[in-house]
Symmetry: D2
Subunit: 324 residues, 4 copies
């Protein structure tokens, strides 16, 4: 059994981790850390867990095999500085602290995109879990990058559910504002652009592609729908590209290419990413969908844990979708 | 022209008042008071008003003919203590301070349910605007109360939109929580029960009826849907009761009895209240719908203003519904 | 392995059954029957199943150990007449054909409320799966019925998600109508009333209680929220009643009593039922929540299958909630 | 008074026209034509109109000054062929029949984009009302086109509410599917592309710009949110462009440039279009919002009627937004 500790236990990604790990056959949750809620039953905060766990929030870890950091962006570094984790305790960071700056003391963070770095992750002691927008967009483009086919600008719009904005109520997550509403935020300058670009180069694209990315706030809670296109004057036939995508992801148990147009709820509450590819006007157009809390956060984190500990990649992650 | 001042100008009911009054042919908005936003353009706070007004928030009134109090519950009394309104300035309070305790210094507040107190309101200098749940439930029961027919317990469930909870983001109005969710709050002890009971007695019911009222939080923004029933062993025929309802409301320009079952969006963004009446199992069952921000708050407040100033009751209130 | 056949394979309850059974360790899905879609991949209809199954719809069963009937109400009887199931093939009917009329030829249907009939279900060959509203309301009242404490009228409002209305688009499930809308349907005369009453008597209540039940259509997709109350002049203390509820459901792995008020999404996408109990004004007030497609339909059907085949009741049903 | 006839009276755009015209001070609704519902009260179909009109559907016009055609796309031509409208009866077509092919017998249709063709519309006898996506996108680009500044490809994503898909329930407007869901349809090949291109040229752009347009289905009912960008290497300063936009629309009473980022609900239930402009990475990025049933359909149709009959352009169209 893997002894797991979760830091930042009251937030959304921690709650989702708990939902997965409580059902994971090889995991023992040793501690759920929250400095603000010590002693409170975990199921009182994550109310859906009533009847599923008697765990209480604590303020420290004991001797975990792996610690998941579910802290706000920028706080993981601080946590590691303040808390002296045992050297052999692995770390999976769900924040963005180590995605683009992987070194921290003796710890070197592998970028946790399972579909690109599977072999590295099997050996990794520290993993920087990718961002949710980044995962959704990277999985749409990896096969093209691997063949150095991203030669032109990339145009991407992606619309996210409100859980991406976390647990704290603010104006843009106020129900009276958000319901039936749509807005744009951080257009052309979202913080995930850096990890997307770096990853596409790591995957084989020789030059860093320019990505014009417009993130949007959607009036739903879970999921990211990305619509991406780039100029297409490749000698490969259209069907060949689609076949290549399928082949590229053949050993990836959570990424699938759909022949039919896709809609977001086909992946909600699962760890899957679905892709759909069409060609128009000299463009290749790719739609990509994930659940931001699962493949975009806690699900991928568990997938990484499975790889790091030599388990089947899908263990605990064959989740029934909610669909509706 | 009526010179209007609005106190508590940044909240939801003030915004809705502004939307109505900016289109009202007999109103001049003299001041929109907000101690926290003095100098800010009103349209920067109420963003939909872009292009419709150049008003700025101020911290005082000048010489209004009427002041609308859009403050938090309990704060109207405080406002009147601190600010010495001209004696001849009328007051319409949208809070609950004077609904059940109508006397404040020289000011005596008339309960602003237009369908019950129309004649009193024409002479009123101070009006306590009814609560939103209260309005929706009272309008369903007034005709029965007027004939002393409320002899048994009343059972009421009513589900409200999120705007009823105001502008400040809190846990129960967080989109990730509220979307696709339903919950109950303050069952059997909602603060509107007192004004409902008092009003039904004032309408003619000799005894104070017991009302079992369960309010629910709905996953929509505007409107209240109430489902109400009470035992029925009246000698009047069912059709006669429906006819009586129609007759009772014949001179009320915003209350209608529908022969067909009703759904909430038939009144959203209007000042209307629709009622539908059926009989089953020895019960009379009444459904009643309003827009909580309009007939349940700012719309009724303007209706009261119209009555107080001798204008047509519907002036500025023939609003196009949003329906969808 | 249990060989399973599903009749009516294209509908919502069949889809939900497939999602569960494809992950069930002791099930082999032998056939998914749809006379209208023979030969079509199941994952083309239930699009979220892409990558999870290669099954095709067929027009017949082969030799199933159990057949789930996911047909429209009234069509199960017809199916059994037209198709000669092997005598030893068990049947679980998700429709309402046999809930109140349990005999059909040699087949005698046990009412599949696991929390009441667990021992009977372990021996059952044919099961009539309860309705979704019925399940939610019965579980709220069973402990009281078991002590013959339902002596007065019961007042119930329950609001349901749109999936309860099935897959076929109609006016009341049209998005433009249903979004942000609320309505009542079949008040005081819903077809589930009969099975609720019969079950409460079977549970131990000596007289059939009168239930005033108002079903409502909610603007969400999954779940039922029921608010139920009845007069309370029992000699048992309030805390004792809550303790008794916990004790009553101690061996029921999916029913829990929450000390805190509950909200619908705490059970969505799970097989759980949560109850919360309070006392006011001489009434006991119980809120009860389920996912209409799971504990209210397909989840309970699988729970019944587990019991019928001597498996752990929870097998395949420890589902991660979607929560948001 | 203008005598108005509405053909295709049961659909969504007709309902919205009725809501506006019943409040329009210079309009008399002579006939609401529906061949399928002759004799039915209009308020029985458009239920929110209860108490607002006694009109019945009829099967013919009498002697209208103007007929609005609210028929399915492609059916306006057929209607005019079958029904011999008086020669002096003006026609406003809300379908797409005459937008790109303006000639029909003696009737020549002016493209009804008020902000471009105001002077022509004042003289027009026949108007082809623009499409909803088209309006939202054209208004974002008109000022650039007028200066021949659209020299590069245009990238546009726009997400629409469900009312754009009309009244008939279909799979993609089924609530259980659409709620909390997002999908793409007709990417790069939407039928509005032609009228957008033609209009931009008519506005002054010398070449037909290539527009890469991805329409999306949103999980809300009203409104279109468009996010549009194109390469920007203009010698005009950024502030100058914004000033030019304001100047361009100075005489357009419904189009406003917001200094702040915009969100869809700022225009819902109004006839307004809001624009917001920013500059990044060598691109100009414009967001544009309208209500698809108002500025995108029936509101603009009434605006056209006002122009055609010499009335104030805004008459009947100063609508209170619903905002929430």
């Amino acid at each position: 059994m893997i002894n797991v500790s979760i830091a930042g236990g009251t937030g959304y990604t921690a709650g989702e981790l708990l939902r997965i790990l409580l059902r994971h056959p090889e995991v023992n949750i040793e501690s759920v850390i929250s400095t603000t809620s010590v002693g409170m039953p975990v199921a009182e905060m994550h109310r859906d867990l009533l009847g599923e766990t008697e765990l209480l929030f604590s303020d420290c870890f004991i001797n975990p095999d792996v610690t998941f950091l579910c802290l706000g962006h920028g706080l993981s570094r601080e946590f590691l500085e303040k808390n002296h984790l045992p050297t052999d305790c692995k770390v999976i960071d769900l924040g963005n602290d180590f995605r683009n700056e992987p070194q921290f003391g003796d710890r070197n963070f592998v970028f946790g995109l399972c579909e690109l770095n599977k072999e590295l992750l099997k050996e990794a002691k520290n993993v920087a879990n990718p961002g949710c927008f980044a995962t959704t967009i990277m999985l749409a483009l990896l096969p093209l990058a691997s063949k150095n086919l991203l030669q032109d600008e990339i145009h991407a719009h992606a619309i996210t559910g409100s859980t991406g904005a976390g647990k704290k109520p603010v104006d843009t997550t106020h129900f009276s504002y958000r319901d039936n509403n749509i807005s744009v935020y951080k257009p052309f300058r979202h913080q995930h652009l850096e990890e997307i670009g770096n990853t596409l180069v790591a995957a084989g694209n020789r030059q860093l592609p320019q990505i014009n990315f417009v993130p949007m706030r959607g009036d739903f809670t879970r999921g990211i729908f990305a619509s991406i296109y780039t100029k297409w004057n490749c000698s490969m036939g259209n069907d060949d590209i689609i076949s290549y995508y399928k082949e590229y992801y053949a050993s990836s148990p959570f990424v699938f290419v759909s022949e039919q147009p896709i809609s977001l709820k086909e992946v909600v509450n699962t760890n899957k990413c679905l892709l759909h590819i069409e060609f128009y006007n000299g463009y290749i157009h790719i739609t990509s969908i994930t659940d931001n809390l699962l493949k975009g956060a806690s699900g991928q984190a568990v997938q990484n844990m499975n790889l790091m500990f030599g388990l089947d990649e899908t263990m605990g992650l064959k989740l029934k979708g909610s669909v509706f």
